[in-house]
Amino acid sequence: MDLIFEGILKAFHLIFTLDPEVLGITLLSLQVSGTATLISLFIGISIGTVVALTEFPGRRLVVSLINTGMGLPPVVVGLFVTIFLWRNGPLGFLGILYTPAAMIIAQAVIATPIVMGITLAAIQALPKKLRLQILALGATRLQMVWILVKEARLPLLAGVMAGFGGVISEVGASIMVGGNIKGYSRVLTTATVMETSRGNFDVAIALGIILLLLAYFINLVLTHIQQRERPR
């Protein structure tokens, strides 16, 4: 028990003295997961909306693939991304294995199906006649899609939160493709694993607390935005 207490003390110490290494690790966590979430937002919402609104042969297959993708084990994603990015792999020429860019890719692969699946469900849940109404007000198809996305903004925000939550806390893929290199590709999760395996439990707990606080504050902001508009 005093180990946890030590950890909490260490956490406060690291935060308030603005320990540069911890600061760097935290910043990198935000950068990597933030960028990955943004990418997943862009791809996930656009493709999710298209699939929700279009009839095409094989649609059912695509929908079940997306729903399966929501539960993709992150470590499996990490393994496959690593294999692709190996020097001698198909994308080896990019030379981005063991870089934050690779981590962003892996995390984006993990988060995108989550955002896509939730977008799909959210758009499908809108009243079918709403599309007709929007067109009947003179909207082009593009304008219609934009208005529908705005209508579904609350569940879409939840989808983004789910995607972000999934990747900020991810460790397996991040270690594999990032290499946990000090000052370069080390993030809160990978650093926590390393400190634990070294036996530096107080530092590990401190990093864990910082990660929890980070995730909490970001979700606090997003939740506040979402609940402010909650139908009463």
Binding site: P127, K129, L130, L132, Q133, L135, A136, L137, G138, A139, T140, Q143, I147, K150, E151, E229, P231, R232
Partner: protein, 371 residues
């Protein structure tokens, strides 16, 4: 003087669904500034017709012209769509304020902020809801929401307005008040409107012309009293509210009038027929008069029959009296009269109606000529 070209002209418009022909309009025109109602049973094609004319459904054949130009020409489509607006049975408002909702059609057209404010304010005023401007669309009653939907459509100042059973989900008092306001606004703005309803009274009240539809076709089009009082066939007759429809055969004919035998009784009507011809008589219940004591004076009514009252039904402001004269007959009677004559079920009365009040449908007629 030649009449101005109709705002909308439809030709040979066809829509299929699942292989079957669900819309088959050989021709239809709508004059500018008029209100056309479409009435018909569910599945008649009213919604399909309106959605096709609003370019929400693609026709499989035919064309239609707006202000003389073919809508399907290359640059025509978006331009045309931007000149129309549609309101549905459900308000289908957006999850934002009333103001933003009414402004949405204008924002779609890229109108600037101050113009939008003016238009929205104007239309909120028109529909009596300026106090709701900042309210969330989720917090409106059914009537308020439908007003917002109408304001949203009118804010666009459409050249053509489509209303698909807009009052169907509202309770009667709300429906009444909204219909009154809408009628005033449509007349003021001379907005050309196509309006679908299954309520004949609504159609009667709001329209310049009524089109009766069934199975994807327009069966009859014309001014309300023409369609109501001179239905072209039994289906239309029953749909427009003719309560008494009788079939019989011509037994005698005279100067412009004739007598048909209906269930053993002889009924006189006006029209050009042949002896032996089967005919259908349509008698509107408003045209049937009842008397309790045997008639002493000679009235101009040629048809007087002893009848027994089989049923009396209260219909809001008046009573529907079902009679048996040997053939079934329905009359409308005010509460006042019901009291005065002490009418009750089982009672024997005398029912009369003029020969000229009977609308005759000759059964030998072939397929309907175009309206």
């Amino acid at each position: 003087m030649t009449a101005p070209a109709p705002l909308l002209a439809v030709r040979e418009l066809r829509v299929r669904r699942g292989g079957a022909l669900v819309l088959d309009i050989s021709s239809l025109t709508v004059e500018e500034g008029t209100i056309l109602s479409l009435i018909g049973p569910n599945g008649a094609g009213k919604t399909t017709l309106m959605q096709t004319l609003a370019c929400l459904i693609k026709p499989h054949g035919g064309e239609f012209f707006f202000k003389g130009e073919n809508v399907f020409s290359s640059h025509g489509l978006l331009q045309y769509r931007r000149m129309l607006a549609m309101v549905f049975q459900e308000p289908l408002l957006f999850d934002t304020t009333v103001f933003q909702n009414v402004a949405s059609g204008l924002k779609i057209r890229g109108m600037n902020g101050s113009e939008i404010e003016k238009r929205v304010g104007q239309n909120l005023q028109r529909f009596g809801i300026p106090h709701l401007s900042e309210r969330s669309a989720r917090k409106l009653s059914g009537g308020e929401a439908q007003r917002v939907a109408l304001a949203r459509a009118m804010a666009i100042q459409p050249d053509l307005l489509f209303l698909d059973e807009p009052f169907a989900s509202l309770d009667p008092p709300t429906r009444e008040s909204l219909m009154e306001d809408l009628e005033k606004i449509l007349r003021q703005t001379t907005t050309t409107t196509i309006f679908a309803t299954h309520d004949r009274m609504e159609a009667l009240r709001l329209s310049d012309r009524i089109a009766v539809m069934n199975e994807g076709r327009i069966l009859q089009v014309g001014p309300p009293d023409e369609v109501m009082n001179q239905p072209r066939d039994e289906f239309i007759a029953s749909f427009v509210g003719v309560e008494t429809i009788l079939t019989g055969r011509v037994v005698r004919k005279g100067r412009g009038s004739f007598v048909a035998s209906i269930e053993g009784q002889e009924v006189e009507a006006v029209g050009e027929v042949e002896i032996g011809e089967p005919v259908v008589f349509c008698i509107r219940p408003e045209n049937v008069t009842l008397a309790v004591s045997p008639r002493q004076e000679t009235t101009s009514a040629r048809n007087v029959f002893p009848a027994r009252i089989t049923k009396i039904v209260l219909l809001g402001l008046y009573y529907k009296v079902h009679l048996d004269c040997g053939f079934p007959l329905v009359a409308y009677v005010t509460g006042h009269s019901l009291e005065n004559l002490s009418l009750q079920e089982g009672q024997n009365v005398s029912a009369s109606f003029k020969a000229t009040a009977i609308h005759v449908i000759r059964k030998t007629r072939g397929p309907h000529p175009p309206p």
